[in-house]
C-alpha cells in the first residue's frame, strides 16, 4: 500500500471474493486510511455486523458498496447462492445509519431484470444515495449460463425505461444509473479504463494484475509484490506493457481511426470469446468475429427454460467451474 501511494494512487478498494473473511481486513483499512488512501469496501454484506460496521468506520472507511442479486428474498437467494436477504437489508440500513456513503449495486440479467422498479423502491426506502443497476458481465459464471441470463433487447429497453420513469417520478436525492450489457453495443468498452493506465490489482497472494479478471488469460506471467516493487511492475513488467496503449494491436484495430477511444476493447473478453487475447474485442461490429456476439444473442433468445438447468452459483459449483476452466 505504501508503494501504491508513492506511485500516486489515492483510491483503494478492498474487494474479493469477500474481503471481510480476512481477519485483518479492518486493520488493513486503518493502515490504508493512515497512508492517505480514500478507502472503499466492496462486500456482499454477509459477514457484516453492527460492530463490524462501527469498526470499519472507526478505521476510516469512506465508502461501502453492497450488491444484491434480487429485490426479494427468493430471487436474491436463487442468484446469490445463500439465504441472506434479510441480513443484507439490515446491514445496508445500518451502513446508512452510520452515515457511511453507500453504493448499492443490483446485478441484472434476464431472470431478474423485470425487478428494476422494485429494486429502486427498495433502495429509496433504505435511504441509499447511489444505485447502480449493472447488467452482469459475461465472464466466468455468467458466461457459462449466458443462454439463461442474457436479456433481450426488448427487456433492456423496458428496464431502462422503468429506470427513467422512476427518476422522473421520484425527484429525491437518489442517483440511479443503468449499465447495459455491452453485447448490444457496436463498440466495446476499454479494458478497465485502459490496460495499465488507471488500475492495479493485488491479490492476497501478492500477484499483481492490470484488472481483476486478467488471470483468465492463459500464457501471461503475473509479477508478485514479494519479488519486485510495485513501481517496477507498473512501469517495466511485461504484463503491464503487453496491452498498454495501441502498439500491440492487430487488424482491424491497428489501422482503425477509433483505436484511441476504446483501445480495442477488453482483453479478457477477446480471449474468452475468440481464444486470442490480441484479437479485436468481438463486441465491436468491425471485428471479423462479431458473429460470436450475434449468435450468442440469438441463442439466448431461442433458449427454452427447460433445455438445460441454470448452473447455480454456490461453493460447490464454483469449485467445479474453476476446474472446468482450468481444463478448458
Amino acid at each position: 500500500m505504501k508503494e501504491a501511494r508513492k506511485l500516486g494512487a489515492v483510491q483503494i478498494g478492498f474487494s474479493g471474493g469477500e474481503p471481510l473473511v480476512r481477519k485483518d481486513c479492518v486493520e488493513l483499512i486503518g493502515t490504508a486510511n493512515d497512508l492517505g488512501f480514500y478507502c472503499n469496501l466492496i462486500t456482499s454484506a454477509l459477514p457484516l455486523t453492527e460492530k463490524k460496521i462501527e469498526e470499519c468506520k472507526e478505521a476510516g472507511i469512506k465508502h461501502i458498496q453492497i450488491s444484491f442479486q434480487g429485490s426479494d428474498k427468493k430471487t436474491n437467494a436463487k442468484f446469490g447462492g445463500t439465504d441472506s436477504f434479510e441480513h443484507k437489508l439490515a446491514m445496508t440500513k445500518a451502513v446508512i445509519d452510520h452515515e457511511i456513503p453507500l453504493g448499492l449495486n443490483f446485478v441484472l440479467h434476464r431472470q431478474n431484470i423485470h425487478q428494476v422498479t422494485d429494486f429502486l423502491m427498495m433502495a429509496e426506502n433504505l435511504g441509499a444515495e447511489f444505485v447502480e443497476l449493472a447488467n452482469t458481465q459475461y465472464y466466468a459464471w455468467a458466461l457459462h449460463n449466458r443462454d439463461k441470463l442474457l436479456p433481450s433487447q426488448q427487456q433492456l429497453v423496458e428496464a431502462e425505461n422503468a429506470t427513467n420513469r422512476f427518476r422522473d417520478q421520484h425527484k429525491g436525492n437518489m442517483n440511479a444509473i443503468f449499465v447495459a450489457p455491452d453485447y448490444y453495443e457496436k463498440r466495446p468498452k476499454k479494458c478497465s479504463a485502459g490496460w495499465g493506465t488507471t488500475f492495479i490489482t493485488v491479490t492476497p497472494e501478492g500477484d499483481v494484475l492490470p484488472c481483476q479478471s486478467a488471470k483468465i488469460i492463459t500464457g501471461l506471467e503475473f509479477p508478485n509484490v514479494k519479488n519486485d516493487s510495485l513501481n517496477n511492475i507498473w512501469e517495466k513488467s511485461d504484463l503491464f506493457n503487453r496491452f498498454r496503449g495501441t502498439s500491440w494491436m492487430t487488424e482491424p484495430c491497428k489501422s482503425c481511426p477509433e483505436k484511441e477511444q476504446d483501445l480495442g476493447g477488453c482483453r479478457c473478453q477477446a480471449f474468452m470469446l475468440t481464444g486470442d487475447a490480441y484479437a479485436t474485442d468481438p463486441i465491436c461490429d468491425k471485428s471479423p468475429q462479431h458473429d460470436i456476439i450475434e449468435k450468442a444473442i440469438e441463442s439466448a433468445q431461442t433458449d427454452k427454460e427447460e433445455s438445460q438447468p441454470l448452473y447455480f452459483r454456490n461453493t460447490q459449483n464454483s469449485k467445479k467451474l474453476a476446474v472446468m476452466e482450468e481444463n478448458s
Binding site: 506511485l7 483510491q11 480514500y38 469512506k62
Partner: protein, 93 residues
C-alpha cells in the same frame, strides 16, 4: 442545501482534502473519484475543515489577501458551487 446567510458549514466529512506528493497538488477525494483543486479552492477549503460561517471566512481571507478586490463575490460563488457538489455540508451544532 446550505443557507450561507445563517448556516455554519464545513468540508464533507466523507470527503478527504489532502496534498498529493505524486501529483504536487491538493485534491479532494470522494467515492470513486477525485478533483484537483486550484490554489484559490485550497485557500478556501482548508479554512472550512472546522465549522465556519461565511462572513468569518471572508474576513479571514480578506486579512490574508488585502489586495483581492472581488474576494467576497468570488468566495460566494465558489461556496455555491462547493455546496452543489456536496464538498461542503451544514455543520450541526
Amino acid at each position: 442545501m446550505i443557507d450561507f446567510d445563517t448556516n455554519k458549514f464545513h468540508v464533507n466529512p466523507n470527503y478527504r482534502l489532502q496534498f498529493e506528493e505524486a501529483q504536487q497538488c491538493h485534491v479532494l477525494l470522494y467515492p470513486e473519484g477525485l478533483v484537483k483543486l486550484s490554489d484559490t479552492a485550497v485557500e478556501i477549503l482548508t479554512r472550512c475543515q472546522k465549522p465556519i460561517h461565511k462572513l468569518t471566512l471572508i474576513e479571514d481571507l480578506q486579512r490574508d489577501y488585502p489586495d483581492a478586490e472581488t474576494l467576497a463575490s468570488d468566495v460566494s460563488e465558489f461556496l455555491e458551487h462547493a455546496a452543489k457538489e456536496s464538498w461542503l455540508v451544514i455543520a450541526e451544532d
